[in-house]
Amino acid sequence: MNHPDLTRKKRRTVWLLSLLVLGMFGFGFALVPLYDLLCEATGIQSVNIRTAADNKTAYAAGQPEINKSRFVTIKFDASVHPNLPWEFAPVVRNMRVNPGKEYLVNFAAHNRSSSQITSQAIPSVAPWQATGFLNKLECFCFQQQTLAGDESVEMPLRFVISPELPAEINSITLSYSLLKLENETAVIQEKKRS
């Protein structure tokens, strides 16, 4: 191969590769809008889209259409923080429910100590993708619960599972952790605010 020919070939390769480098640098920036577009087009949930989906299901809960052909297993789970001398358990542990239909279940709580204690239940849903589709119409977790010494109570939970629950989810676990509420909690919140 003669010399100028080789130089020309080299130069062409260098140009092509440089364009590739610039193109990939641009592609990095193009990913900023592409990322949201791609998620939207394929239904992959990004942060923005997830919020939108949650809002939609909240509206849908108002006019439930019962889907009798579909059953979803909902499991209830309860745990108590070690510093809270309470017993706390779901009365029913498993249910097979139709999406769109309203159900009422109870959680039993008992204060083992002799003094009055206030607690707060913190819910969590697994898998998290189901969170927006489990609508609680009434829940003991909405308020703080106060029990006198040795008092027992059954606390209600009324819920609907949205018919728009993704088809691949056929089992949901709703778990409550019961935490003791003390003056310290208020102090921490004060600190955060300031």
């Binding site: 191969m1 440089s18 480098v21 990939m24 990095g28 239904g43 993708q129």
Partner: protein, 534 residues
């Protein structure tokens, strides 16, 4: 010896001496040497930071370092090793060997070659400054993000992060320039008669590596540029309050970060593809399938990056795709491993140091690959994520897959470069201490991770004390064994038994047809087709 043409050709070349020889060098051999020396320096710096990390983790509690400094060392260890040691060392091997292997007089763009090396010391200085600056008053906080630099933390770190961002820009420019140079060389400067499918395997691995670098490094550069804008120019690419998404950075980073793993691995696979046939005295088994497997690994490797981010909350469809894609990569990688084993099968094997490393790499890399398949499985990864198990996994992949491969290559080609045989007895001692130390260091970390010890945290639960103590002792053995490597290299450069041109009895290829050490200029007349095919 078939090589006689170049000795009388020095009339129109001036060979500068002293510092000018190195600073203004356009000679691929000198630049290769510079790359390798730079990598060796960075290896010791990265190793020193790892020693500090392991010394701190020897016992629970906080003894030597404070938490931010610890995390800064973790950041530095990764960046020094990946960008400072492994990539320049692989580029050094490429510079030295590719022109010799394909019968070219030099790299295609010698001046750019000079530039792509001399950017590196500047980049290295910036990287070290990012570590040093916080010790001075007004220097801001330390880089406690780890090498992944995730926002929002990386937006809040002090000015040392800006040093790091510019260091990454410089390192990126250097490796993109080197990659362009290598591709242009390989596509245009092969000796007559050497078709693409006759190219030595090391050249093929570097061709694929260089393309990977060109495709992914600019994306990382874009990502850290956005980070810089978020920090100083009021944009909010990664700030949810301004409509951005911090997860976007993770996608940009791992779009680079996952192919980067193959960038580190493939040159070593190339080295092994020469060492194993040489010491088995058989040609490489399945050359075409190796090339195919490598291209498959690189292609699939480009589109599975989000398996580093399973826990960010992707949809079921997305995680399933990334899981299946990741597991599929194990097929072409497995094919490479089986090709190596088939090459050894019934060969007349001898176990000089490069071959010892090669055999150890095949075993340990396969092990690391298996724990990689465990991590690829989404429900399992939810447990292992960010635990010491991940640390154990990627050290089992990157140490054998990248660093040991480079050690093997250095021992294999050191006689060619220096003209002296290295001390085989010392090298074998180094191999055994090195590999034993490595396993003592990282094997217990699997157990730590499975038991729930998180990574990147200075302190740990007392229940993890024993395994951490073992791991730290192993790390000291492993770390200090590299002083022996340094001694062996210096000793070989200064003298030793004269090496022949072929060096190794079973070695084949153009690089073994030039004398050891090769003269300053080689292959100024391209080798004949007969030489290429011998």
């Amino acid at each position: 010896m078939s090589y006689t043409t170049t000795m009388n050709d020095d009339a129109h070349h001036h060979n500068p001496t002293g510092w000018r020889r190195w600073l203004f060098s356009t000679n691929h051999k000198d630049i290769g040497t510079l790359y390798l020396l730079f990598a060796l320096t960075m290896l010791f710096m990265g190793g020193a930071s790892a020693m500090l990390i392991r010394a701190e983790l020897f016992q629970p509690g906080i003894q030597l370092l404070d938490p931010d400094l610890y995390n800064n060392l973790v950041t530095n260890h990764a960046l020094l090793m990946i960008f400072g040691a492994v990539m320049p060392a692989a580029a050094g091997l490429a510079n030295w060997m590719i022109p010799l292997m394909i019968g070219a007089p030099d790299m295609a763009l010698p001046r750019m070659n000079n530039l792509s090396f001399w950017i590196l010391p500047a980049a290295g200085t910036m990287l070290i400054l990012s570590f040093v600056v916080p010790f001075f008053p007004g220097g801001g906080s330390q880089i406690n993000t780890g090498w992944t630099l995730y926002p929002p933390l990386s937006v809040q770190v002090g000015m040392s992060m800006d040093f790091l961002i510019f260091a990454i820009h410089l390192l990126g420019i250097s490796s993109v320039l080197a990659s362009i140079n290598i591709i242009v060389t390989l596509l245009n400067m092969r000796a007559p008669g050497m078709t693409m499918m006759k190219m030595p395997m090391f050249c093929w691995t570097w061709l694929v590596t260089a393309f990977l670098l060109i495709l992914v490094v600019p994306v990382l550069a874009g990502g850290v540029t956005m980070l810089l804008f978020d920090r100083h120019f009021g944009t909010s690419f990664f700030d949810a309050a301004g409509g951005g998404d911090p997860v976007l950075f993770q996608h940009l980073f791992w779009f680079f970060g996952h192919p980067e793993v193959y960038v580190l691995l493939l040159p070593s696979i190339g080295v092994l593809s020469h060492i194993i046939p040489t010491f088995s005295r058989k040609p490489l088994f399945g050359y075409k399938s190796m090339v195919g497997a490598m291209i498959a690994v690189a292609t699939i490797g480009m589109v599975v990056w989000a398996h580093h981010q399973y826990t960010i909350g992707m949809s079921l469809g997305a995680v399933s795709y990334f899981m299946i894609g990741t597991i599929i990569i194990s097929i072409p990688v497995g094919l490479m491993i089986f090709n190596f084993i088939a090459t050894m099968w019934r060969g007349a094997m001898t176990f000089e140091t490069p071959m010892l490393f090669a055999v150890a790499i095949i075993m340990m890399f396969t092990f690391g690959g298996l724990s990689g398949v465990m991590l690829a499985v989404v429900p399992a990864d939810m447990q292992y994520h960010d635990s010491m198990f991940v640390v154990a996994h990627f050290h089992y992949v990157l140490m054998p897959g990248a660093v040991f491969g480079l050690f093997a290559g250095v021992f294999y080609w050191l006689p060619k470069w220096t003209g002296h045989m290295y001390d085989e007895r010392l090298a074998k001692i180094f191999f055994w201490i090195n590999v034993t130390g490595f396993n003592i260091t990282f094997f217990p970390q699997h157990f730590l991770g499975l038991a729930g010890m998180p990574r990147r945290i200075i302190d740990y639960n007392v229940m993890f004390t024993e395994f951490n103590a073992i791991s730290s002792i192993g790390a000291m053995i492993f770390g200090f064994s590299h002083l022996l490597l340094l001694y062996i290299i210096i000793k070989t450069i200064r003298g030793g038994e004269k090496a022949t041109a072929q060096v190794w009895e079973g070695a084949k290829g153009l690089e073994w047809q030039v004398p050891s050490p090769p003269p300053f200029h080689t292959w100024e007349t391209p080798p004949s087709i007969k030489q290429v095919q011998s």
